[in-house]
């Protein structure tokens, strides 16, 4: 043999790893085969017995009971540790000294790696050693079934899907814990994950795992590992199968988790994995995975996106940690937006619309209200470009997704064009300096929708209409908001038929507005319909169902069916707890809702407990903790425990300033809340001084023409008015009203408040005409904004009665004051001071009337009202 005749080329070297793998595989098989021979067929095995025959007492200190598994990596026995009498699993490398060096090293490495991992979800090693020339180690015995068998059994149960997803999230957690120790598993598959009787997964078999030392691992592919690769080929990542030189890191495990997830959801693999190995390898490295949704239509886009993100050929486009994957799976379970799609504008629209119950929750209104128009335009341009790139880059993974991506891009472009048209109109050059209001923007958008701008994209049109409705509701334009919700609902019913989550979403949002319009029976009907639909859509626990239950509960409160309301809310809380576990923030927030709704003596304690837990899990400065503090203060205030309420408001104020800074709207809001409490406690001067001190901060927080600033001025002016400081009161309320008018929001509760306060100043100064104009403006505000039963109507009637009295128009004054008294008396104890003031004015009226016209005998009326006023004043 002359090597020089047949030189080894570089090409040989490039395939050397593949050959080494095949040789090791062959060696392994040959050894197993020769060891099974009854006669010495090969000289290697001249004097060994059956290597697979393990006596029960082979390992000192243990009694081996039964063989559980026999594989390439060794044999696993169930046994008992004699010293502790506990069940253990004992893994033995049966070939002993005949094991290849690679097998021995792998076995030792598994021992070493397991001894470092103590995370939940990973089996713990107990001991290791050599017995009769064979390597062994003992570990916790997991009495469970492989993940795929477990998932298959689950399939018959109604909530199988969320449980499977939660299980995968727990597996991802365990894998993440290993990664945090620098350990990559590299052989994740359902058979290596056991689920115990409590439904907890345990990751086993770190035999192929690799430890990254300070991030420097042997970046070779698993193809170089002996023998064990073939069995796990369907779960191997492209970089693992693509041969030597391709770096393999923890993202290979993310890929494996993706295949497992795919398998558990669909009972199939993302590619064809049966056939010649080279074809399977080709599929893994180059075939686009089939979307899981194409095997099961009930798998929605979000879930499919999570799976496909794991299966991306490029490691850099997968989740970058198993923790990220676990988090996204939990987002999905909770109905929150998933990270994998966070860049898609229209996606965010949909999710936010679905999720936020507050009127101003839509992204659109956030953008328009929180940012200047110019910034918004710039931002949208950037978003449009980035969105196109991202959508195209990220979602080409599969043909169906590709088409969807194009549709999404088109939709996003459409939305952006829409917004740009609307915002473009705000350009001072086009509007001759006229400041375009949010209301006008909504009107423009609505007109364009009515003209059929989005007629080709009915689902998008419905989403935009829903969003407009939320902004209009926030502006207090409840009739218009209601109409938009109705149109959105009609469109969605037409597009999706009856049973669709979007239809349910429209119903629930509409129900919220109907409730505020005072159409409470309709609100309940709509919410109930939404709930019925969403229950049929999800057929089990789901975050959407929780949202609907919450809405139905509040709708029941609207029609004073409190028992029903509490039952629904309790159901919502129980369901959410099943979905997200007892310590999830969303659950605590829902519990807050529950305590507010069932307002009782125990609510305060419950709220305090929730606050404690939020504090523990989120830390003292989390926005949700601040909100809970404020709510607790509010409940204490309503319960009359003003001192404790003040303590909590002060804590909340300090924390809010710490978190957001002193010139943030939330900090200003916290000041206002505290000031109102101080006023209630009788410390008017303290309250007024405090707000006067932060007036400059409020200007910065909201801008001098901002709605929030006008609200602040209303509170400040109100305190000045109570202190009879007419100069400050007038200046504050007049400026507030001016701002409201400029923003076209003067036809609102806040506008009414400013007018009443100004009228009061005018009345004290005897500027009766001016006062009357303001009060009539106040009463002319639409009843859908300031309800017929609102205190401001009673107060306005009372003050008009005073004006007529001053004008000595006694009969007119009497009618107004009697109406005012009736209205204010109906409002309950909180408005007693106003009611009593109206009663005292009636006394004065009848006295004056009696003096002016004694023949009418109004003195008796005066006496009667005097008595009544004193009785009413007696607690």
């Amino acid at each position: 043999m002359n090597d020089a005749d047949d030189p080894v080329t570089d090409a040989d070297l490039s395939s050397a790893d593949e050959h080494r793998r095949l040789i090791d595989l062959a060696r392994h098989q040959a050894q197993r085969c020769l060891l099974r021979m009854p006669t010495p067929a090969g000289r290697w095995v001249a004097d060994t017995g059956d290597p697979f025959d393990m006596p029960g007492d082979m390992v000192e200190g243990y009694h081996l009971i039964e063989e559980l598994h026999r594989g390439g990596q060794g044999m696993v026995f169930r046994g008992v540790q004699l010293s502790t009498d506990r069940s253990v699993a004992v893994k033995i490398l049966p070939l002993g000294e005949f094991a290849t060096r690679a097998e021995r090293l792998r076995f030792e490495r598994e021992v070493e790696i397991l001894s470092q991992l103590t995370a939940p979800g990973i089996v713990r090693i107990i001991d290791s050693g050599v017995a009769s020339g064979r390597w062994w180690f003992s570990m916790e015995f997991v009495d469970g079934v492989p993940l795929d068998s477990y998932a298959r059994r689950l399939r018959c149960e109604p909530d199988a899907r969320p449980r499977v997803i939660a299980l995968c999230a727990a597996v991802a957690d365990a894998v993440n814990a290993a990664h945090l120790h620098g350990v990559i598993h590299r052989d994740l598959k359902p058979r290596n994950i056991l689920v115990d009787r409590n439904g907890q997964p345990h990751v086993l078999d770190f035999g192929l795992a690799r430890q990254e030392l300070n991030g420097i691992g042997d970046h070779t592919s698993t193809m170089t590992e002996a023998g064990q690769f073939v069995g796990s080929l369907p779960w191997a990542s492209p970089e693992q199968v693509s041969g030597a030189g391709t770096p393999v890191d923890l993202r290979a495990d993310i890929y494996g988790l993706g295949v497992i997830l795919f398998q558990l959801l669909t009972d199939r693999f993302p590619y064809r994995v049966i056939g010649p190995a080279h074809e399977v390898v080709r599929a893994i490295t180059s075939a686009e995975p089939t979307s899981p949704a194409s095997f099961d239509a009930s798998i929605d886009d979000d879930l499919a996106t999570i799976v496909l993100k794991c299966l991306n050929k490029e490691a850099s486009r997968r989740y970058q940690s198993a923790g990220d994957l676990a988090r996204d799976l939990r987002h999905y379970l909770a109905g929150d937006p998933i990270e994998a799609k966070r860049d898609s504008l229209s996606y965010l629209w949909r999710r936010r619309l679905r999720r936020h119950r507050v009127a101003a929750g839509a992204v659109f209104s956030f953008i328009l209200m929180l940012a200047g128009a110019a910034t918004v335009t710039a931002m949208l341009w950037q978003n449009a470009a980035a969105e196109r790139d991202r959508a195209i880059d990220a979602e080409l993974a599969q043909e169906r997704l590709k088409q969807r991506a194009e549709r999404e891009v088109r939709k996003t472009a459409e939305v952006n064009r829409f917004l740009q048209t609307v915002i473009g109109a705000a350009d001072p050059g086009r509007t001759q300096g006229h400041e375009l209001t949010l209301r006008e923007m909504m009107d423009t958008t609505r007109r364009q929708l009515d003209a059929g701008q989005l007629a080709e994209e009915p689902d998008l049109e419905a989403a935009v209409r829903g969003s407009i409705a939320q902004v209009l509701a926030a502006l207090g334009q409840l009739d218009d908001a209601s109409a938009q919700h109705e149109q959105a609902l009609v469109i969605r019913e037409r597009v999706h038929g009856g049973d669709h989550r979007d239809v349910a979403e429209s119903l629930v949002q509409w129900s919220e507005v109907l409730g505020r319009q005072g159409r409470r029976d309709e609100a309940l009907t709509m919410a109930q319909r939404g709930l019925d639909i969403i229950r049929r859509v999800h057929n089990g626990d789901h975050r959407d169902v929780v949202e609907c239950l919450r809405r139905v509960a509040w709708a029941h409160v609207g029609v004073t069916r409190l028992t029903e309301a509490e039952a629904r809310m309790a159901e919502a809380v129980a369901m959410l707890e099943r979905l997200v576990g007892p310590d999830d923030v969303a659950l605590l927030q829902l519990r807050l809702d529950q305590t507010v709704m069932s307002h009782s003596g125990s609510s305060v304690r419950a709220t305090a407990e929730i606050l404690d837990r939020l504090h523990d899990s989120l830390g003292p400065l989390h926005p949700d903790v601040l909100t809970a503090m404020k709510m607790l203060g509010g409940m204490l205030q309503m319960n009359g425990d003003l001192q404790s309420a003040e303590d909590w408001y002060r804590k909340s104020l300090i924390a809010t300033e710490d978190v957001y800074g002193p010139t943030h709207p939330r900090a200003i809001e916290a000041h206002m809340t505290l000031a109102q409490l101080l006023a209630q406690r009788g410390d008017l001067r303290g309250a007024f001084t405090m707000l006067l001190d932060v007036r400059a901060q409020a200007e910065v927080a909201h801008g001098t023409r901002g709605f929030g600033y006008a609200q602040f001025l209303n509170v400040l002016g109100g305190l000045a008015g109570q202190l009879r400081d007419d100069t400050h009161a007038e200046a504050s309320h007049a400026l507030a009203l001016e701002i409201f008018r400029a923003l076209r929001r003067d036809q609102s509760g806040e506008g009414a408040r400013a007018r009443i306060a100004l009228a009061q100043v005018c009345l004290r100064r005897d500027e009766l005409v001016q006062a009357e104009v303001l009060l009539n403006e106040c009463l002319a505000i639409d009843q859908s904004v300031v309800a017929p039963s609102h205190w401001m109507r009673g107060q306005a009637h009372s003050m008009l009665g005073q004006i007529r009295l001053k004008q000595r128009a006694f009969a007119a004054s009497e009618a107004l004051l009697l109406q005012a008294h009736r209205e204010l008396a109906a409002l309950g104890p909180r408005y007693e001071p106003m009611r009593d003031a109206a009663a005292r004015t009636l006394v004065r009226l009848y006295e004056a009337w009696d003096t002016a016209a004694p023949e009418l005998g109004k003195g008796a009326e005066a006496d009667a009202w005097r008595k009544r006023a004193s009785v009413e004043n007696t607690p």
Binding site: V8, S15, L22, Q29, Q31, L34, G275, P276, V280
Partner: protein
């Protein structure tokens, strides 16, 4: 990996004496170049890969190395090459034979009873061996066959169980075992050869 002459000779001597590490080293050195000389031909390239041939060749090398006679064989590389060529030839033969069969005969013969399939396999094997099958009692023959199959390398045993005992079509066996159809023919030929030997040695004991 180029080996110096004295290194090569030392490794061959160790390998023949039963040193698996030495044989591993030799195969790693010569396997890639043997593979380069294999010519599958355009017709069968889709159903057989040179890696399939090498995989079985390496297994045969481990199983057969004790019989390697350095004095008679020209070189270790030539010996390895011959193993590979034999495997390739068996694979191509099997593929061609399977393709020639009318479609109806290529359909799975899964209705076959297990005992019938055992008889058929024994007939096939023993006709090529020196021991007359008729001399054995049926049950005894079946037991001996089962024992021999259990002594086969895992890949061979799997192919025999799927093709001969279950009567699956080679394409179905390929799909089941995640191997190429060509590899199935090759594995089956090697498995039969080894089974014949095992049955012979059992019969002569």
């Amino acid at each position: 990996m180029a080996l110096l002459k004295h290194e090569h000779e030392a490794l061959v001597a160790k390998a023949v004496a039963g040193d698996a590490d030495a044989l591993t080293e030799l195969l790693a050195a010569y396997g890639p170049r043997v593979e380069r000389h294999l010519d599958i031909g355009r017709r069968w390239r889709g159903v057989l890969d040179t890696a399939d041939v090498m995989q079985v060749t390496y297994l045969e090398a481990f199983l057969e190395i004790a019989r390697f006679d350095a004095a008679r064989a020209t070189t270790f590389a030539a010996w390895l090459h011959r193993l590979a060529e034999n495997n390739l030839r068996d694979a191509l033969r099997g593929l061609a034979r399977h393709k020639r069969q009318p479609a109806a005969r290529r359909v799975l013969a899964d209705a076959r009873a297990p005992d019938d399939s055992r008889d058929q396999l024994l007939d096939e094997l023993v006709s090529a061996s020196s021991t007359p099958s008729r001399a054995l009692r049926r049950e005894e023959a079946h037991a001996r066959l089962d024992r021999a199959i259990s002594q086969l390398p895992d890949d061979y045993a799997a192919v025999v169980r799927a093709s001969d005992l279950q009567g699956l079509d080679p394409d179905a066996v390929a799909a089941l075992l995640q191997r190429s159809p060509g590899a199935v023919h090759m594995l089956r030929a090697r498995a039969h050869q080894r089974l014949s030997e095992l049955l012979d040695s059992a019969a002569s004991m």
